[in-house]
C-alpha cells in the first residue's frame, strides 16, 4: 500500500522484487499474488480507518489517504458488504469534515461518496452538506460546479430547489459544457422526481432550448432529452419541435439525432394510432407524417452509423408501412449485416428478423448476407440469421439450409438450438410437403448430445407436427421409438411411450412398435416400465389380433418388483383375459369389438368403467385440477353430503390461450429472452377466483355455487368522478351483480352506495341489494345486487338501466376528516346487459368431432345469417363473442394467408348454466360481393330449447 502512495522509487522497485521472492517462499498459503489496497477488505477495519476523517491534521496532510479510504468504503459494496444506516450516517458525518480540505481529488471523492450514501442515510442528515455544496456550485472552478450540481440534485427537495433555482438555471447555459451537461442531467432527474420540482424545471424552458444550440455535442443531447421530457404530453408542441430540428439541421451530436429519430418515430406511431395517416402510405398522409417519414429517410444517409441504424430501425417498426417505404431501410440493414463490428451486425440482424415476420419477401434479398452470418463468431447473431432464413427462405432452399444448420448446430449451446428447433417446426407448418426431410432432420438432432430441455423441445416439436401434419405420424413414431432405445430422460421416455400407446394402434401396422415398447419393459427403470406396460395394454385393447402375443409379454411383468408396473400388468392381464374369453379372436374378420378396456394410464378416481378409460379423462388434468380447486373454494363444499363425481364438479372456463407465447417465439431469437417472458407468464398464472368476493358474504354464499363469473364490464367512462365496473356472477337460479365502485373525488367520502337497476323482463327480477358502506378517496368497494331468474321462462337478453345511488360526505383532503353530513346523490351509469352468452361457460372438449357425433342431431338447430362484416376475421371473432363459447381445434383464428378465400369452419363448445354441454359448428364465408359475410350455424345440445336459445344469440 505504501508503494502506491509515495510513488515509485528505486527503493520501492527493490521491495517489489523482494516481496515477489517472499511470496515464493510462502506460496503454500497465499492465494493472491499481489497486494492491493482493495484486496480482502473488512468492513470493520475500513470503518476504523475512516475515523481519520475527524482528525484535521490527517485530512490536511494526507488527502491521498482519505481518498483511498473513501474508495475502500465504496468498494465494500462491490464485495457485498453494505453499510447499514447507522454506519453510513457515522461515516457520512466524517466525510462532511473533508470539505475543509482544498484538495481537488479528495473533493471529487467526497462528492462521489455523498451521492452513493445519500440513498442509505437519513435525508435529514444529508441536508447539512447543502451549504457546502451550494458554495462549490457558485465557485469559479468548472469541475467543482459541475459535480456539486449533480450531488445537489440528488439530495434536495422542491422547496430547496426553488431557493437555488437561479444558479441552476444559469448553469444550464454555462459556457463550460461540463457544467451545462451536469445542470441538464440533474434537471432531468429532478423533473422525474416529483411534481413540485418538475414545475420549477419547466420554467427554464428557454434556457434549455438555448442549450440545444450549444457547440458541445453532449449538451445538445442532454438539452434535447430534457426538452422532450417537458413537452412529451403536448403533441403539437412536440411535432413543432421535431420538425424544427429536423429541418434546421443544427444538431451535430449523433446521440441527439438518435433521440430526434426516436421522437419522430413516436409521433408517427401516434399519427397512425389516431388515424391521421389513413390506410395510404406515409408519403400521402398528414403533413407531419410526410415530413416525419422524409426526415427518417434522409437520416438513412447520415454519416454516423448510430443515426443511420436508428432511422432504419424506426422505419422498419412503423405500423402498416408500405413495402416501397420499407425498402430503403432494409437496404441499409443489409449493408450493416456485413459490418466488421459485432454490435452493428447484431443490431441489424435483430431488426431484419423482425421485419421478416411480416415482410419475408422484402427481407429475402438479404438471404446471401444472412447465410454468411451463419458462420458468425457471435452465436446470437448466427442463431438469429438461421431463424430469419427459415422465415424468408423459399421451399427449395430448405434442403441446403438444413445442411448448413447441421454443421452449425453441433457447436452451439442448447438454448440456441432450442430456438432453431422451434423455427424448424414453424417451417414445417409452412411447407408441409417438406415434412419428411424436416422430421428426419429433427430426429437426427435427437441422437446428438444435448440436455433435457433441448431434447424435450425436439420431442414436443415432433409431437405437434404429428398433430398438424398427420402424414408424419408413422415416420415420426418410428424415429421416436429409436430415440427411446437410448434415452436417458425418464420423463421423455414415458411421454413417448404414452404417445405410442395413443397413436400406435391406429397406424397401419401396429405390430412393429411392440418390440420397441417391450424392450423398455426389460431394460428400463420402474417409471418407464410402468408406462411401457400401459402402452402395451393399449395395443392389446385396440388390436385384438395382437392380444395373444401381448398377453404373453404382459404376463412377464406380473412379478415385476415395482408395484405400479405389477399392478398395471395384472389389471391389463385380467381385463384382457376376460375379454379374450368372451370375444375370442377370430383371425380373418378384423371387426371384433374391442369391448374390453385395459388399465388406465393413470389411476382413475371414482369411475372404473373400462370404456371411458380408453378415452382418458373427460377433461384435461389441468382442468380437473382447477375444477376441484373451484369446488373446494365454495363454502361448505367439504361438508356437503353430495357425492363428488366428475359430472358434479363445477365447470371451469378455459384460461387464455397460449398463442401469445408463440408470437413471441416468432420474433425473438434469443432463448434467454423467452425464458424471461415465460417467467413473467408464470407469475400471471396465479388467478384469483372472481367468485371469492361473493363467497365472502354469507347471504350471497347461501344462494349456491357460482356457475361462471363474467369479466368486468365498464359502466362509466374512465376518468369520471365515480368509476363503476360490474362483474356478473351467474348461479343456477340467481345472478349476483358485483359492482366495483371507485371513488376518485379527493374531498368526498361515499356512503351507502348501491346500484339501482331497472329492466323489463319476464325472467329476471331484482331480489335484493347489499350496499357498500363507505368508500374513501381512491378506494374501490363492492356493492351487490341479486337478481332472481325465473327458470321456467325462456332466457331472453335484457338490458337494465343503472343508477348509482349514494350519500356524499365532504372531507378535508389533507386530514381525511369528515366536514359535513351525508347528503344523497345519484349518478347515471351506462346500461348493463344480460345476454345469453353470460350463461355460457367457455369449456373446450378434448375431441370435438367425437363429441359432436355423440350428442347427435336430435336437438340440432340450424340457422343461416348474413352478417354485416367487411372481413371474415372480424365475423369469426364476433360469432365467438356472441355465443360466448370456446373455439376448439384452433379454429378460433383464420390461418394467415387464408383469410377471405375459403369458407372458415369454426368449432365451438361450451357449458350452459345447469351443466348442459353445447356444441356449435359455424361456417363463415365471405359472400362474393362486399356486402358482408354469410354464416351457417348448427348448434347441438341435449335440450332443443337450449340449442335454440344459443342459435338466437347471433345478432
Amino acid at each position: 500500500m505504501a508503494n502506491e502512495e509515495e510513488g515509485l522509487t528505486v527503493n520501492n522497485l527493490f521491495s517489489e522484487v523482494t516481496s515477489a521472492l517472499d511470496k515464493f517462499k510462502l506460496e503454500d498459503d497465499s492465494p493472491t499474488d499481489y497486494y492491493s489496497p482493495y484486496a480482502n477488505l473488512e468492513k470493520a477495519s475500513v470503518l476504523h480507518e475512516a475515523r481519520c476523517f475527524h482528525d484535521p491534521t490527517a485530512v490536511r496532510e494526507s488527502p491521498r489517504k482519505c481518498c483511498t479510504v473513501i474508495a475502500q468504503l465504496l468498494h465494500l459494496t462491490n464485495t457485498g458488504q453494505y453499510l447499514n444506516s447507522a454506519e453510513a450516517t457515522e461515516v457520512f458525518f466524517g466525510v462532511t469534515k473533508l470539505f475543509m480540505s482544498d484538495d481537488a481529488s479528495l473533493r471529487r471523492m467526497v462528492y462521489l461518496f455523498i451521492k452513493e450514501v445519500a440513498e442509505t442515510c437519513d435525508p435529514d442528515d444529508v441536508i447539512i452538506v447543502t451549504s457546502s455544496l451550494t458554495k462549490d456550485m457558485t465557485c469559479d472552478v468548472d469541475l467543482y460546479r459541475a459535480n456539486a450540481l449533480r450531488v445537489l440534485a440528488r439530495i434536495i427537495d422542491g422547496a430547496m430547489l426553488g431557493a437555488i433555482e437561479r444558479y441552476v438555471k444559469q448553469a444550464v447555459v454555462d459556457s463550460s459544457g461540463q457544467v451545462s451537461s451536469a445542470a441538464l442531467v440533474s434537471a432531468t432527474h429532478l423533473f422525474e422526481r416529483n411534481a413540485e420540482s418538475a414545475a420549477i424545471v419547466k420554467r427554464w424552458i428557454s434556457e434549455i432550448t438555448e442549450a440545444t444550440s450549444s457547440p458541445n455535442e453532449m449538451v445538445q443531447f442532454h438539452a434535447m432529452q430534457l426538452l422532450y421530457q417537458i413537452k412529451k404530453h403536448d403533441r403539437l408542441g412536440m411535432q413543432k419541435l421535431v420538425t424544427q430540428f429536423s429541418q434546421r439541421n443544427t444538431l451535430k451530436s449523433p446521440l441527439a439525432l438518435v433521440l430526434l429519430v426516436r421522437y419522430t418515430a413516436k409521433l408517427l406511431h401516434d399519427e397512425v394510432a389516431e388515424g391521421r395517416v389513413g390506410s395510404t402510405s406515409f408519403q400521402n398522409g398528414s403533413q407531419f407524417a410526410r415530413a416525419g417519414y422524409a426526415f427518417l429517410e434522409a437520416s438513412l444517409r447520415h454519416k454516423s452509423e448510430m443515426v443511420v441504424y436508428e432511422a432504419g430501425k424506426a422505419i422498419c417498426a412503423l405500423p402498416n408501412i408500405e413495402p416501397q417505404e420499407l425498402s430503403p431501410a432494409v437496404n441499409v440493414m443489409q449493408l450493416f449485416l456485413s459490418s466488421p463490428k459485432p454490435a452493428v451486425r447484431f443490431a441489424a440482424i435483430k431488426t431484419v428478423s423482425q421485419v421478416a415476420v411480416n415482410h419475408p419477401r422484402i427481407v429475402s434479398k438479404c438471404n446471401e448476407d444472412l447465410e454468411a452470418l451463419i458462420a458468425d463468431a457471435n452465436r446470437s447473431i448466427a442463431t438469429l440469421a438461421i431463424t430469419t432464413l427459415l422465415k424468408t427462405g423459399s421451399e427449395n432452399s430448405v434442403d441446403r439450409l438444413l445442411k448448413q444448420i447441421s454443421v452449425f448446430l453441433s457447436e452451439i449451446p442448447d438454448e440456441y438450438k432450442i430456438t432453431i428447433v422451434k423455427s424448424l417446426q414453424r417451417l414445417c407448418f409452412t411447407y408441409p410437403s417438406k415434412h419428411r426431410v424436416l422430421v428426419g432432420f429433427l430426429s437426427n438432432f435427437l441422437r446428438e448430445e444435448g440436455g433435457f430441455e433441448f431434447k424435450r423441445s425436439i420431442v414436443n416439436s415432433i409431437i405437434s407436427l404429428i398433430k398438424a401434419v398427420p402424414e408424419t405420424t408413422e415416420s415420426s413414431l418410428l424415429h421416436l421409438c429409436e430415440f427411446i432405445e437410448d434415452c436417458e430422460f425418464t420423463m421423455l421416455s414415458t411421454q413417448i411411450l404414452h404417445l405410442l400407446g395413443e397413436l400406435g394402434p391406429g397406424t397401419p401396422s401396429p405390430a412393429r412398435y411392440i418390440r420397441f415398447i417391450y424392450n423398455r419393459v426389460i431394460l428400463e427403470n420402474s417409471a418407464v416400465r410402468a408406462a411401457a406396460v400401459a402402452a402395451l395394454s393399449k395395443f392389446a385393447a385396440r388390436c385384438p389380433s395382437l392380444r395373444t402375443s401381448v398377453m404373453t409379454l404382459l404376463k412377464r411383468s406380473l412379478d415385476d418388483e415395482d408395484d405400479e408396473t405389477r399392478d398395471r400388468a395384472s389389471v391389463a392381464v385380467s381385463v384382457l383375459k376376460g375379454a379374450m374369453e368372451e370375444f375370442p379372436y377370430v383371425p380373418p374378420p378384423q371387426d371384433v369389438e374391442p369391448d374390453a378396456e385395459p388399465v388406465p394410464d393413470e389411476p382413475q378416481p371414482g369411475d372404473p368403467a373400462a370404456f371411458i378409460l380408453l378415452q382418458g379423462l373427460p377433461m384435461s388434468f389441468d382442468r380437473l385440477d382447477r375444477s376441484i380447486r373451484a369446488y373446494m373454494r365454495a363454502p361448505a363444499a367439504m361438508e356437503s353430503p353430495e357425492q363428488l363425481t366428475l359430472s358434479t364438479l363445477p365447470v371451469v372456463e378455459e384460461t387464455e390461450p397460449e398463442h401469445d407465447e408463440k408470437d413471441i417465439n416468432e420474433v425473438v431469437g434469443d432463448a434467454a429472452l423467452q425464458a424471461a417472458v415465460a417467467g413473467q407468464k408464470e407469475e400471471k398464472k396465479e388467478v384469483v377466483d372472481p367468485a371469492a368476493a361473493v363467497y365472502a358474504i354469507p347471504e350471497l354464499a347461501s344462494l349456491g355455487r357460482v356457475f361462471r363469473s363474467s369479466p368486468p364490464t365498464e359502466l362509466s367512462e374512465e376518468e369520471t368522478e365515480y368509476v363503476v365496473r360490474c362483474i356478473k356472477h351467474v348461479m343456477p337460479e340467481h345472478i349476483v351483480l358485483q359492482f366495483l365502485i371507485q371513488n376518485t373525488v379527493e374531498d368526498q367520502r361515499l356512503t351507502n352506495c348501491t346500484v339501482a337497476i331497472e329492466g323489463d323482463s319476464e325472467c329476471f327480477e331484482v331480489a335484493g341489494e347489499i350496499a357498500a358502506e363507505s368508500i374513501k378517496y381512491g378506494e374501490t368497494a363492492n356493492a351487490f345486487t341479486v337478481i332472481n331468474r325465473n327458470t321456467d321462462a325462456a332466457l331472453a337478453p335484457c338490458s337494465f338501466e343503472c343508477v348509482l345511488r349514494f350519500g356524499v360526505v365532504q372531507v378535508d383532503p389533507k386530514s381525511g376528516e369528515d366536514e359535513s353530513d351525508a347528503y344523497d346523490e345519484e349518478y347515471p351509469l351506462e346500461e348493463l346487459e344480460l345476454a345469453t352468452s353470460d350463461f355460457m361457460a367457455k369449456v373446450s372438449v378434448p375431441d370435438f368431432r367425437k363429441a359432436w357425433e355423440e350428442v347427435g342431431n336430435a336437438n340440432e338447430v340450424l340457422e343461416k345469417f348474413a352478417l354485416q362484416f367487411k372481413k371474415q376475421e372480424d365475423a369469426v371473432a364476433a360469432v365467438i363473442d356472441f355465443l360466448g363459447m370456446q373455439p376448439c381445434d384452433g379454429t378460433g383464428h383464420i390461418k394467415p394467408g387464408e383469410g377471405g378465400k375459403k369458407p372458415h369452419m369454426l368449432h365451438l363448445s361450451g357449458v350452459f348454466v345447469g351443466g348442459r354441454n353445447v356444441l356449435a359448428r359455424a361456417q363463415v364465408a365471405a359472400s362474393g360481393d362486399a356486402a358482408g359475410v354469410l354464416l351457417k350455424i348448427a348448434v347441438r345440445s341435449d335440450d332443443s330449447d337450449v340449442s335454440r336459445m344459443v342459435a338466437d344469440c347471433i345478432r
Binding site: 499474488d33 499481489y34 461540463q178 452493428v344 429472452l673
Partner: protein, 232 residues
Amino acid sequence: MSLLTHASPPLLPKVDAILVLDSDGNRLAGKYYGDFMKAASTSSSEGNNTSQQSVEQLRQSFERQLQSKISGIVAAPNAAEVVTVLGKTAVFCGGSPPGQSGSVRVVHIGPVGESELVLAHLVEGMYEALSHLMGGSTDRNMILDNLELVFLLIDEHCDGGIILETDGHKLASSVLLRDEAEASRNQQESMAGGGKGGMGGMGGFGGMGGDMTIAQALRQAREQIMSNLNQN
C-alpha cells in the same frame, strides 16, 4: 409479437448497469441504476440488512449468467460484442481468451429496446478512457490498484443511468481533474504539470500517469516470475 414491438427504443435512454468484470466474472467495480436488479421489497431508508443481502445475491446471479455468456469472448476496444441476458442487452469491450488472464471487461447493460449501436458507443468510450487512465493496460490487478479512478470514471460517464459523457479523452481528463481544453491540446502527453486555477493536490493524480507504466511493468515481471516458479 407483443414483446418486441413493445420494446421500442426508450425515449429517455438510460443504462441499467455498468460493470467492470475480471476474466472470471468477478465484479471489480460496478454500478446498478434505477430498479434494475433491485428487489421490490427493499426499503431504501431503513438499510435493512437482509433485503440488501438479497439484492447482492440477485446481482451476483445476474452476473453469473452474464459471465456464462461472455466468458472466452474477446472484444476489441473499438468493436464491442453483444449478448442478451435475462431480457437485457449486454454490450462489452475487453476480455481474454479462455484460460488466460488479460484485460478486464467493461459491460454496459441496457434495456432490450435500446440500440446496440448506442450501447456500443458508450462502452467503447468508457473502455478507451479506462485504458487511458490505466496507462494502456487494463488487466485485473491494474484496475484493482486504481479502483478510485474507476469509480470516478463511472461517475463521470453516467449519472443515475443517464449518459453524461462518452468521449474517452474527455472522460479521462475529467477523472484526472484536468481541464477539457488543455486536455485536448495535449492529449497524448500524460505528464500533468499544473492544470489551471491553482487547485492544490492535483499532482496527486497527475503524477500517476508516468509511474503507472513502471508499476505495470514491475507487476508483469513479478507475475512472470511467479508463474515460472509455480510451474517448477
